[in-house]
Structures are given as C-alpha cells and as structure tokens.
Subunit: 366 residues, 2 copies
C-alpha cells in the first residue's frame, strides 16, 4: 500500500521524543508522559495518533498555540468531581493528571470525574481510560476536537470526531478497550483513500452541498477551505442507517468535554480572555473512573468479563468470517508484536522526525 | 400506513393502566410509576415502548416471570454507588428508585451511580435519564435486553439492543435527550416493514448465515426459532461502515448494566438460585447522575447548552433538508401535541387493552 516502512524500536523512539519535547521547553516528566501517549498509540497500531503527530506538537509549541509552561488550575473541586483549566498547554500532561485525580476519587469514594478546558489534542482517548485498569477501575475518556463532522441534515461540519473510550478490566482475558471516534471514519482514512485514488464508501463523507460523496479529494479540499461538507457521523447520512445516533454521541461528547468544563464547543467558538483576545487553544476533555468493587466483588466481575469475552469469541461466525473480535484485542496483539519486532514508521513520518531532530539538535539514530 | 388509530386522552389511559397493575397485585405507588414510564413513552411518540406493552407485563406477572411483590435489596452501597437486586420484579419501580438514589448521591457528592440486577424490561431508557433534569443534573441510563443483535462477524444474536440514554438540562431550549438503541434499528421496525411487505435497507439485519438481508419476515422468523442472524449493530455488517462501533457500544452497555450488577449478560445466561433453579428474570440496568455545578456554574452551562443547540439548528442545511434536529426535540414537540390532542393508539393495541380490561374487570372507557 505505502512504500517501505522504517522499523524503529520502542525505546530509542521514546528517548528521541522526550528529547524533542525537552528542547521545546517541556519539563522532563511531562515530556515522558506525552511521549508515552504517542508511542502507546504507535505500539497499538493507531499510527495516525502516534509520533506521526510530533510535527504538530512542535509547530504548536513554536506558534504559541500550545504553551510549554501553562498555568494549570483546578477551578472547581468536589469529593468526586473537578474541573481543570489547562492554560493552553499540551493535552497529554494535564489529561494524565486529570485521569489520576479521577482514579483517586474513585478509590476514595467509588467514582470520580474530571473535566478539562483550554487544552489541546490529547492523543488516543483509550490511553486515559486504560489508566484505570491497574486499579481495578473502569475508565472513561472523551474529548472534543477540530471541526470535521456534519450533523444529520446539515451541510457544514459543526462537530469534531469526538471520540469515546471505555476500558474495563478482565481476569485472564485482555481488558475490554472501546476507543472509537463517533464519526464513521476519521479524516486520516480519507487521506489514505485519496492517495490510493480509491472511491470512498457511501456513508463516510459528504460534499459541499451536504450530499454523500465518493470523492475523497473533494471532501479534504472542502474541509480545508471550509466550503461545506465533511465527515459523516456513525450511521451515515440522513436517517436510513441512523446517522443521528452517531451525531447524538458526538453532541454528548461535546457536552461532557466542553460544556461541562467551559471549553470551546460545536464549531469551536474560542473563548476570549479578559482583554478580548481569543485563548490560544480551547478544546475540552472528560475523564472518569468507577471502582468495580463499589458495585460488585472484583473477582466476580473479572470472571464474568472473561466469560463474556469467550462467549462472544466462540460464538458461530457469519459466512466467510473467521473471527469475532473483542474491542482492544487487535491492539493488544499488535502492541505485543511491535514491542518485540519494532514499530513500522511510514517513510515520510520517519523523514519528518529526522528533520525535527536536525532542527532541534536531537540525534535521530533510532 | 396502519388502519385508523384510536385517540385516547392521557389521564383516563393512566387511570386504566394503574388499575390494571393494581389488579395484578402491584402496590398503587409502583403501579403509578410503571404507568408513568409507559404513558410517557406514548406521549413522546415512542409507541413501541408504551401501553402497547401492557400485555407483556400482565402476562409476565401472571407467569411469575415478573414478581408483583419482589424482595428488593440494596446489596452494595458506597457514598456514590450502589447495587440493587430487584428480586425479579417489574423493571420500572426499581429503576425509578435506583435513579432517585443516583440523583441523591449526585446532590450530596457531585455524582452517583446505581446498578440493578435481576430485573425486567424497564421501558424507555430516556425516562430515567430525564429524571435528573429537574435537579440540574445530567442523567444517564442503560439496560441490557433480550438477545437480538449479532456481533460484528458473528452469525447468531448474542446481545440485546442495549440502549443508552443521556439527558442534559438547557436554559430556554429543551433539554438534550439522547435515547438510542445501539443496534441500527429495534425489532419493531422489522415488524413494520414485514407488515408493509417492504424490503429492509441493507445494514439493518442479517439472515441465518450471518449475511445482510432485505427479508424482514425471514429475520423475524429466524429470531423466533433461534436459527441464526438478527439485528445489526449501529454501523451495519462487517467493518466498512464501522459496525464494530455499535457492537462495542452494546458490549459497554452489557458491562455496565449486567456485569457490574451481577445480572445475566451476552446471550443471557440466567443466574440460578441456591437450589439451582434459574431466576425468573435477570436483566440489568445502570443509572447515573452528575451534578452540573460540581463542574461549572449551572447558569453558564445552561447558556452554553442553549447556544450549542442554536448553533446546530441554525447551521446551513444539506441540499433538500429543511431542519437540523437536536436529540429529544421531536419527542418534546410530540408530547406537547399528544398531551393536548390525545394519544393515537394502534387499533390492535386498543383492542388488546380493552381485552385486558375485560379479563381483569377494569373499565376501558378512556
């Protein structure tokens, strides 16, 4: 599909990223957290959200859209909730802190929830949900995002791909990790189809009139120029396959991530500071944890989780199908393989990382 | 579409239902709650979940599948969580109680969550989520259900239509009320297409080999005889339109409703009592509430909710479309109309209610 990939091992890739973030002024502990979120995405095979995005963070920090030393403030706190103002910093460190707070509240009280405002792209939603697992908690994570998705019957993009991630621990089986954009596909998928000159399946995107289209290049261009159209919510256009459900899930994520926290929402009206200047960045996130034994003994729950997974996996297959998957299963298998064999980087991504290294004086010898 | 409907006013319909439940041995307060859940569905235009189901409750109570005087027990409780054993009673009264507990915990601590096991069909999920609204809380409600939905790449139904409902208060605009089955459509839609001899859209259901089909009668017959196939999750068959996301949402609902509470899950393995007898009924529900001001001042949140809704509704429309809806909006409009003009009952439903009245000596003069 693509030209030959560049195989890199996890550890040197991590060290490279940490040094890049440190050169951009990020404190070491936060550089390590941000790197871990990115490399975890690469390990799990979610290449679109891994180190391929390093350039965007470097550019964001250079332009001031992302603040290296943000003034992070807990603006509201109750026994089981909190709202954090991220001060326009990187999304990953503040999200890591917010999820840790949610987990601590869950350990203390049974459940905990933290919203974050004035933040930036936080990487894969699943990373934070999965932080709950080692504490025998169920984790949830949501974020709003750049405006790419059209509401049902709408012409223009009004919402982000607004992902939802839920992670629940199991016993002998891997944890359940649902990590899904609420659009049918993310923009990256259209880019792949465009490169391959393949027609899009109907149900992925609409053109500038709001009609379903197979023309990936046209959609991408329209999104760039804000000419109308965009990605479709899960369920596609109109009501036939219930695209309003995906649209509803996207609004739900907007409410929890942005309206509860005071972040920008819908077509991202950026909040302004006291002087009337738009804040540098303003998306919002939502994090939560429920302690399993606040509902049921952990061993009983985990035994049921194992049984649920086995029932599903061992169920009869549709004609021509070989396997029924559990959410997260493919990613755990991919992570095991890539940890051992290395992460295959797209050559363009590898070249870009090398260029970043040269710009910042960080050795690219992974 | 159907033959002429029978128009009934809300109040006499309520009184009829309350009397029917009382005749079946349900205490008056619980009869009123159960009736309110059913009639609210009818008012909101969700006819499939309204009084059309009264026969199933009467039969369930007669057969002992539903217990009129269940031994309801709070089996686990923490400051912000609880698990209730419903003792095989009607789903509505215990769900109402569970949601009230969740709301009280949210008022006391910021958030509250209650799971329920050994319960029965609880009506519309949105009813319970909406109970949070008057307390300036966001509500959530989920339930698992009879096995009708096939997992991605699977041949047999392994999950319920497992709905999720989320309700969030607004200011001048109506609240946001998402209330969605995680399957593309519920079984009732197939029944409508079958009656009208219309081919099903591809993406709604599969046949006994697990392949997408347009034959509603075949799917309904297969579901009855457990021959294979069933309803498709939101996103349809296979991976093209991301049916595995709908499948993942259904598993999430199963985990929260049934695995956390100790109810039956997946293809409903009914738990057994000490003597090894299957318990009469065993589905599970999940209820939750978050207090808005535990995150952000209520007036700010509501102003943002109003603005979000107006932005979406006023956004440019797709070619040929006249209106962009907010979730719950159609139902609030329908409820206003039906409260004033009456509820149009399908004549078969009206005849069945009359028959129930005759069987139990309750006057059907609505």
């Amino acid at each position: 599909m693509e030209s030959e990939s560049v195989l890199v091992m996890e550890e040197p890739l991590r060290e490279f990223c940490v040094q890049v973030f440190e050169k951009m002024g990020i404190p070491e502990d936060e550089a390590r957290i941000t790197t871990d979120v990115l490399v975890t995405a690469d390990l799990r095979g979610i290449d679109s959200h891994g180190v391929a995005r390093l350039r965007r963070y470097v550019n964001g920090l250079r332009s001031g859209m992302m603040v290296a030393h943000p003034d992070v403030q807990v603006v509201v706190e109750t026994p089981v909730t909190a709202t954090i103002d991220a001060g326009g910093g990187l999304g990953q460190p503040v999200s890591h802190r917010a999820m840790e707070m949610a987990i601590q509240k869950a350990l203390d009280y049974g459940a905990g929830f933290v919203t974050v405002r004035n933040s930036n792209h936080y990487g894969i939603a699943g990373y934070y949900a999965m932080m709950a697992l080692e504490h025998d908690c169920i984790g949830i994570s949501m974020t709003n995002a750049a405006v790419l998705v059209v509401p049902t019957f709408g012409r223009d993009a009004m919402l982000g791909t607004n992902p939802i991630a839920v992670a629940a621990p199991a016993g002998d089986e891997p944890p359940f990790v649902l990590d899904m954009a609420t659009s049918t596909v993310p923009r990256g998928k259209l880019e792949v189809y465009h490169r391959l000159e393949k027609p899009l399946p109907i149900g992925w995107a609409t053109d500038e009139t709001g009609m379903p289209t197979t023309d990936a290049g046209r959609v991408l261009e329209n999104l760039k120029t804000r000419a109308g159209g965009g990605l479709l919510p899960l369920g596609g256009a109109g009501e036939l396959l219930r695209g309003y459900k995906g649209y509803g899930l996207a609004v739900w994520v907007d409410i929890f991530s942005a309206l509860l926290s005071g972040a920008a929402y819908a077509n991202l009206v950026y909040p302004k500071d006291e002087a009337g200047n738009p804040l540098p960045s303003a998306i919002g996130h939502f994090f939560g944890a429920w302690r399993v034994d606040a509902f049921r003994p952990v061993d009983e729950f985990k035994a049921a989780m194992d049984d649920l997974q086995r029932r599903l996996k061992n169920a009869p297959k549709a004609e021509g199908a070989e396997r029924i998957y559990i959410h997260g299963e493919k990613e755990f298998e991919e992570a095991a393989r890539r940890t051992k064999e290395g992460i295959p980087l797209n050559p363009k991504v590898a070249a870009d990382l090398q260029a970043i290294g040269e710009e910042l004086g960080v050795d690219w010898s992974v």
